[in-house]
């Protein structure tokens, strides 16, 4: 170990060079602008936008957040201004904020996905992240992420209309996650990100009913890290395409663990809600960890576990 090493944190993801592997996770970083008072998004490897759907959505009513032990549940319901507003107003405005702008796209049926991806991929974004796993959309958004055939069908459908790198975001609720991952790869995914939130339930025992109007909601945060890390390794060992791991990452060492499990890059969601400087800190901590441990670049540790 050499104490004076200056580690190289950069990663190459489907032809895009990220200055470091830390990407802000969809739905937790707004459109990047909200964070400007705290740090410039360009200090990160990139960010993924709030999920965008073909048409604007108001999202869910009632309680949208609930805290659990070392985690949180959300049921936002894909509130967003729709693909048209994103392409016309938002994308040009936020383009300069990051070297890797990832547009996260949600949908309820294959046609919606195809139309939304076609519109958004034509805008000035670097990548599309196809969310086939949002558990909060009643009309079946999650269904696509559950079974390999369904996942493949949506990926196959959007592939031709997507000239940009296509990242597909997997659901930890999938029946057979590795099978879904392989099916997405065969169907043309350029990379895979995981995990989205775990389908979970909170009950208000005093009211004797579910906390959320939709009954279940998505669990994220440190509580899920050990499961997400296992899933990341399972998928990374099975596929050829790059894997972007996430789920509960809070520190640079957590990020290093996902990379050791085979991830090319990581995303961070909940930790950034807990404190708005979490993501730049994770970058710094990862650099410090690499320097301390004599790791010159992430290739030296990627997938070694």
């Amino acid at each position: 170990m050499s104490a004076d090493i200056v580690p190289d944190l950069s990663v190459e993801l489907n032809g895009v060079t990220l200055k470091n592997p830390v990407i802000a996770a969809s739905g937790t970083y707004g459109f990047g602008e909200e964070l400007l008072p705290f740090h410039h998004p360009s200090v990160l490897g990139g960010f993924s936008t709030k999920g965008i759907t073909l048409y604007p959505r108001q999202g869910n009513r009632g309680i949208r957040l609930h805290e659990t032990r070392a985690g949180m549940m959300n049921s936002i319901g894909l509130q967003n201004p729709g693909a048209e507003v994103f392409v016309r107003d938002i994308a040009p405005r936020i383009r300069g904020l990051t070297g890797c702008l990832i547009a996260n796209v949600g949908g309820s049926d294959i046609d919606d996905y195809v139309q939304a991806v076609a519109m958004i991929a034509a805008a000035d974004v670097d990548m599309i992240e196809l969310n086939i796993s949002c558990p909060n959309v009643k009309c079946g958004g999650m269904a696509f992420g559950m079974r390999a055939e369904d996942a493949a069908s949506v990926v196959r459908a959007v592939r031709p209309v997507c000239p940009k790198p296509l990242m597909v975001k997997l659901s930890p609720n999938a029946h057979d996650l590795v099978a879904v991952a392989l099916a997405c790869q065969e169907a043309g995914a350029d990379s895979l990100s995981l995990v989205n939130t775990f389908n979970a339930l909170a009950i208000d025992v005093h009211a004797r009913k579910a906390v959320f109007d939709n009954v279940t909601a998505g669990l994220s945060g440190p509580a899920i890290l050990p499961i997400a890390l296992r899933m990341t390794r399972d998928v990374a060992r099975a596929v050829r395409v790059p894997v972007i791991g996430m789920g509960g990452i809070e520190t640079g060492e957590d990020a290093a663990a996902f990379i050791m499990a085979g991830a090319t890059a990581v995303q961070v969601g909940t930790a950034g809600l807990v404190r708005p400087d979490a993501l730049p800190r994770i970058v710094e901590e990862l650099a410090a960890f690499m320097a301390r441990e004599g790791i010159a670049n992430l290739g030296q540790i990627r997938g070694i576990v």
Binding site: G30, E34, A70
Partner: protein, 250 residues
Amino acid sequence: MTTDLHVVIRNQHVAPGILRLTVDGGAAQPVQPGQFHMLKTEAPEPLLPRPLSIHDVEGDLLSFLYEVKGAGTRAIAELVPGHRIRVTGPLGRGFDVQDLRGRILLVAGGIGIAPFRYLARALVAAGRDRLTLAAGFRGLPYGIEDFAGVVDDIRIATEDGSAGIQGRVPVLYRPQDFDVVVACGPVPMMRAVQQGCREAGTRAIVSMEARMACGIGACLGCTTQTTTGMRRVCADGPVFPADEVIFDER
């Protein structure tokens, strides 16, 4: 807006279950009455920070008045001077002091009184001299001494009759006697203010509450229904014209 560890200067009970927390370094940036901060102790649990309104800014000191409700406020209540706490803010859109004129009524329900001390001081500093405070409590009132010498007309209602008039805040005022009513408190109270003022044709402003995660507008977790769609309490509010808010009927 900053996110930093601040040193606790004081953290004392002002009434059973109600504390005032004072931390250093608050005056480093201008703070608007009605804005809030997200507070989190250094312990890992609870995970999320908690929103607390700015109760006052005095010199270098920033203070919060809060009620102990659950794990988050309990953790804050356990801090002693010298401990540190993460304070992120100031956040949100507060009260527009320039825009509040004439006969101004502040309506507080319980801990909803928290943001009014700093607001009242700002209004007085801006030359407003017709200020009334109508504050309602379940039991014994608290935080009222803060308004002595600031607001002349202080009206109190308690549900148990332990002080002031027995009953809820609406018994304390007639909306038509005021040019603008500013309300902060539980939803049923704010709904009553909205309705009373609408009928009387009096302008009303409310400060809303919602469960929050980020507090900065990034997660869309704290939205409230308004006439212009779902809006984020943390970034588009917490202060809204009462007429824009659509209170949930449940």
